[in-house]
């Protein structure tokens, strides 16, 4: 039975208070203001982005006369008449653009849904009507859709990313050849789209040379600089406002075409312009998780100790911009491997550019590793939980650096106890109830602890309140609240008396809200600012509450502020300076000094209808250890959402593509399936206390992308346990089980 009510989780050892997020009431009552809700000066015009109806070819002619004749239409912008734009670097070249393709660059069509025109009108309806009257003629070429499609070209990742190194650690081939048990399996992970409820929107207006952009963003300082670069204007004159983000999952980190399109249109028309990409346009506009193939060879000796691990990944990417996630250096760090070999290829076709999506590299690669671990455990006749525990490691075997902390075994024990794992009969098809076959499966979850430099300004007021300013972002995680908790712990002030401002590029720069960076990075900078304040108040670190109160009341000024900054040990002050230029420096996982990861263990029960092969998940247990937990309540939400995401990733989510036309077909959320309430049974979350004194100021590891990693491997193993069938091709669908 599903729980009706999730009690507020209690704070355990090394955890902050489980306070409700500041904006909880406003969010559930719809009162919270998001970027697209912000008021604009004057009456806005409405833009409609016309997107290409073919995936590959060339525009031969454009006839906009009928479109322009629609009453209220102000402009039609195409490659033939758009103002000049500067180059915008992509993420891999240190910029923020999602694609190397400039907006309305020319007549060539490189992928389905490429913006080919912008229509701006007094009303949304007029713009939409004109869009159907805009006549664009194309010559069409045969596009390459996906793996196996004609014209797909394969490259070693090193060719497109010189910093990538294939792993050659000892002789994996020899180690495998000498192993008592081996498996050799191929896995497939599908195209997935973020589908955040909040659509992709940009509102632009100019005030003389100053440009204001209201756009949901995971990186306002990055967007400000990238937009300035593309629009060839001074970044000091650009301001991004994004007070709250209605879900991002990676899709609102990069700069898409719509930013420049809205800004150019607004400049030309001299009034605010609002542009929203519709749900189906979102599928081609802001990236996706690319489909991958994974081949894993894994071996162990007769006692179950791992020997060789050989992993190859193929990622399907765009011809224009060979975006890749990589990630095999992280799976190579997971267990006590004696020899590792890994290779990574990108395969290019006529597709829009993929982007980060919640645990970008980890979802496909850890799924493959963990599925292989389960298969090898079965092959060797060892319980899969025991198998993982006996292959635990304290160092990254390839890099030879120690883990700052690692509590996988504690997580496995905690999850196993709660789940009742010891009662599992290893035999497949050993449990059933009526026409439902029952199976149990498990997996490890991990996410590298990643950090980025950050600044933050903290102001202390004589009345005993404080405020924090940092251009960080709340993408629905509770970031505002956590920043206040960090300052509260440091200043000895009740966090509800601390106000927080975020999501505005006028604030001191914070990190990109991606890679589960925010909590670790922002709280470290906030703590640093608080330490400076304490110092100026002459307070020792262990000052009592009374001492603090007295010192604050005795302040000579009504308020006192300090700007703090922080960078991870692998970087230096230059990385903080780069923040002001919108630069991204992320450190995490295994560096030359240390291995930094959060871990978890997941156990799941599936039920499969013997006849119809419907799969249901009545219960799942996840145990996670991630250093200091700032707020067990918001952490619980992240884990809960992650586990549900993982269930969807295994059983529902997949963007289908027409192989002949290279176009997504189920591009709406009626047909792009994610779990609904009825699909989710009992979700049981255990937070395993963990202390990490070394990793950053507060000992925090990011958790937003932890719980959805590994879940598909636990589910496919449970399906095997129930039916004897190994599914290596996600999502699991009825036809694969018939």
């Amino acid at each position: 039975m599903a729980q009706d009510y999730t009690p507020v989780p209690a704070a355990k050892e090394n955890m902050g208070q489980p306070i409700a997020r500041y904006e909880a009431l406003q969010k559930v009552t719809g009162a919270k203001i998001y970027a697209d809700d912000l008021p604009v000066p004057g009456r806005p015009a409405y833009a409609w982005m016309v997107t290409s109806g073919i995936a590959k070819g060339r525009i031969t002619s454009i006839d906009d006369s009928a479109a322009l004749a629609v009453p209220g239409v102000q402009m039609v912008m195409t490659h033939e008449n758009r103002p000049p734009l500067g180059d915008a670097k992509t993420f891999s070249s240190g910029g923020l653009a999602i694609t190397e393709l400039a907006p309305l660059a020319g007549p060539e069509v490189h992928h389905d849904g490429q913006p080919v025109a912008l229509i701006v009108a007094d009303t949304f309806e007029a713009a939409r009507e004109a869009s159907f009257k805009l006549k664009i003629a194309y010559t069409e070429d045969t596009p390459t859709a996906t793996f196996g499609s004609p014209g797909a070209t394969q490259k070693n990742l090193k060719e497109v990313n010189p910093s990538f190194e294939p792993i050659r650690f000892n002789d994996a081939g020899a180690a495998l050849a000498g192993s008592a048990h081996t498996i050799d399996s191929e896995y497939y992970t599908p195209i997935q789209h973020h589908n955040a409820i909040e659509l992709f929107s940009t509102t632009a207006y100019w005030d003389g040379p100053r440009l204001v952009l209201h756009e949901p963003s995971q990186f306002v300082w990055g967007l400000k600089n990238a937009a300035a670069e593309q629009l060839q204007t001074d970044s000091e004159t650009v301001r991004i406002k994004s007070p709250f983000v209605g879900g991002a999952f990676g899709s609102k980190a990069a700069m898409t075409h719509r930013t420049a399109l809205a800004a150019m249109a607004s400049k030309q028309l001299g009034r605010p312009v609002k542009l929203v990409a519709m749900r189906d346009q979102g599928f081609t506009h802001s990236g996706h998780r690319q489909e991958t193939r994974q081949r894993v060879r894994l071996g162990c000796d007769a006692s179950g100790k791992l020997t060789g691990y050989d992993h190859t990944q193929w990622e399907f990417t765009a011809r224009t911009t060979p975006y890749s996630n990589g990630g095999l250096e992280k799976t190579a760090a997971m267990y006590d491997f004696k020899a590792v070999k890994s290779d990574n290829y990108v395969v290019q076709g006529d597709r829009n550019v993929p982007t980060f999506m919640r645990s970008p590299a980890e979802v496909p690669t850890v799924y493959a590793l963990e599925a292989a671990m389960n298969e090898l455990a079965a092959e060797a006749g060892i319980d899969p939980v025991e198998f993982r525990k006996m292959n635990d490691t304290r160092v990254d075997p390839v890099k030879g650096v120690p883990y700052t902390s690692r509590s996988l075994n504690q997580c496995l024990d905690a999850a196993a106890e709660r789940f009742g794992w010891s009662r599992r009969n290893p035999q497949p098809r050993s449990m059933r109830q009526g026409e439902w076959l029952i199976g149990w499966g498990c997996s490890m979850a991990m996410y590298p602890t990643q950090m980025s430099p950050s600044t933050a300004r903290v102001t202390l007021k004589r009345n005993g309140t404080a405020s924090i300013e940092v251009a960080a972002h709340d993408v629905g995680t509770g970031c505002y609240t956590i920043a206040a908790q960090a300052a509260g712990e440091r200043l000895g002030i009740d966090p509800t008396r601390i106000s927080v401002q975020m999501g505005d590029s006028r604030l001191p720069p914070g990190p990109v809200s991606g890679g589960s960076i925010s909590t670790a990075s922002v709280t470290s900078a906030v703590a640093n600012a608080c330490d400076r304040l304490n110092e100026r108040l002459g307070l020792p670190a262990d000052a009592t509450a009374d001492q603090r109160r007295a010192a604050i009341a005795a302040m000579s000024m009504p308020e006192l502020d300090a700007t703090g900054s922080w960078f991870p040990a692998e970087l230096d002050q230059k990385a903080v300076d780069a923040l002001y230029e919108g630069g991204v420096r992320i450190v995490g996982g295994s560096t030359d000094k240390r291995a930094m990861y959060a871990f978890g263990a997941e156990m799941v029960e599936v039920r499969i209808n013997e006849r119809t092969r419907e799969v249901r998940v009545p219960r799942i247990v996840g145990a996670f250890a991630a250093g200091h937990i700032m707020n067990p309540r918001t952490a619980h939400s992240q884990y809960l959402g992650g586990l549900i995401w993982g269930i969807g990733s295994a059983l529902h989510e997949s963007t289908e593509i027409d192989h002949k036309r290279a176009r997504y077909t189920n591009d709406n959320i009626a047909e792009y399936l994610i779990p609904v309430n009825a699909d989710i049974g009992e979700v049981d979350i255990i937070m395993v206390p963990e202390v990490d004194d070394e990793i950053n100021v507060l000992g925090v590891k990011g958790i937003g992308e932890l719980a959805n990693v590994g879940t598909p491997a636990a589910i496919t193993d449970a399906i095997w346990h129930a039916t004897g069938i190994r599914i290596r091709d996600l999502p699991v669908r009825i036809e694969k089980l018939l």
């Binding site: 026409e435 006849r611 119809t612 289908e656 593509i657 609904v676």
Partner: protein, 327 residues
């Protein structure tokens, strides 16, 4: 958006006259039509809102039950007589869409809902149903949801609804008023059509026809089941569904009615299957033979090949449950 006139007639005859214009479309709950208008799949010049007409009543009609064309799906599923005498209908409705959609969706709108074929809903793609003669994108494309029975080389779309499948099993009739003001009743089984060479026509309605209600015959004895198979437990269309009304008589199958959803351009009913089962003792072998008859002419189009074994399995599961046979 393409501009359109919006009219709210308050008499049935007026509504019917207005709908006689070929570019006029009636709108009820709007849950299907508005989505398609946003996508420019439906481009009416006028929308004839039928909601002012008094067509939402549900009431006895002889021993049977008359369900008004504007009765909401929620009201129908919750109606005491539907729940006690026609539970297969309540189950089928509740297996469809979501509570919010069912609150708006009407009997007539549900009957006339259009296919979920991806090519039909994307105006950049070829589709004979949307644009006769443009080709069928699904035939060589993504056809997982598509038909295995009664399709044509022009169109392999399915009728996606649930409610009508239960109504087909119940032997319901659709009541239609035409532009001339005449009212006729058509067996629900004959209301939807097969695509043939004119896939643009989902059903037998002509310009000016307004559905006024659906009439269920007197209740019959027996177990009534609706089984809908899909990946997600709720809020997804059927890959395959079965409505079954089975009356056991002394250990043998007596009167039986079976209708199938998700398999064809219409709710599928094959009386030969029912005949083959009638009078037999329930057995897996007998169920298999019945499935064999049902699927004799079934054809897959690649991605949907699995619907053939899935239908066989689902039919067996339903028959086992309905006849009380241990699986």
């Amino acid at each position: 958006m393409k501009p359109f006139a919006y009219l709210r007639p308050d008499s049935l005859t007026h509504a019917s006259q207005l709908t006689e214009e070929p570019s006029a479309i009636p709108i009820a709950g709007g849950t299907n039509l508005l989505d398609l208008m946003k996508l420019q799949v439906e481009t009416p010049e006028s929308l004839i809102d039928v909601n002012k007409l008094s067509l939402s009543e549900i009431g006895d009609e002889g021993e049977g039950l008359r369900i008004g064309a504007l009765a909401t799906n929620t009201a129908t599923a919750a109606h005491p007589r539907v729940r006690s005498d026609y539970p297969v209908l309540a189950r089928a409705i509740l297996a469809g869409a979501t509570q919010q959609l069912r609150n708006k969706a009407t009997t007539a709108g549900n009957l006339c809902q259009r296919t979920r074929c991806y090519y039909f809903t994307n105006i950049d793609q070829p589709c004979n149903k949307r644009e006769p003669g443009s080709g069928c994108g699904a035939l060589d494309g993504i056809a997982r949801l598509h038909a295995i029975l009664g399709a044509s080389s022009q169109c392999i779309a399915t009728y996606p609804g649930d409610m009508a499948v239960a109504m087909a099993a119940l032997g319901a009739e659709v009541e239609i008023m035409n532009a001339g003001g005449e009212t006729t009743r058509v067996p629900l089984e004959d209301f939807h059509r097969l695509p043939g060479d004119t896939p643009e026509k989902d059903n037998i309605l002509e310009s000016g026809d307004i559905i006024t209600g659906v009439i269920l015959p007197a209740p019959v004895k027996g177990v009534q089941l609706y089984r809908k198979v899909r990946e997600r437990s709720s809020y997804a269309f059927a890959l395959c569904s079965v409505a079954a009304i089975v009356n056991m008589e002394e250990g043998r199958i007596g009167d039986i009615a079976l209708a199938f959803g998700g398999l064809a351009h219409k709710p599928w009913r094959d009386k030969r299957v029912e005949e083959a089962l009638k009078g037999t003792e329930p057995s897996l072998k007998g169920f298999d033979e019945a499935a064999e008859i049902l699927l004799e002419d079934a054809q897959g189009y690649g991605e949907n090949d699995f619907k053939i074994p899935l239908t066989r399995r689902t039919l067996k599961a339903v028959l086992c449950e309905a006849t009380g046979m241990d699986t």
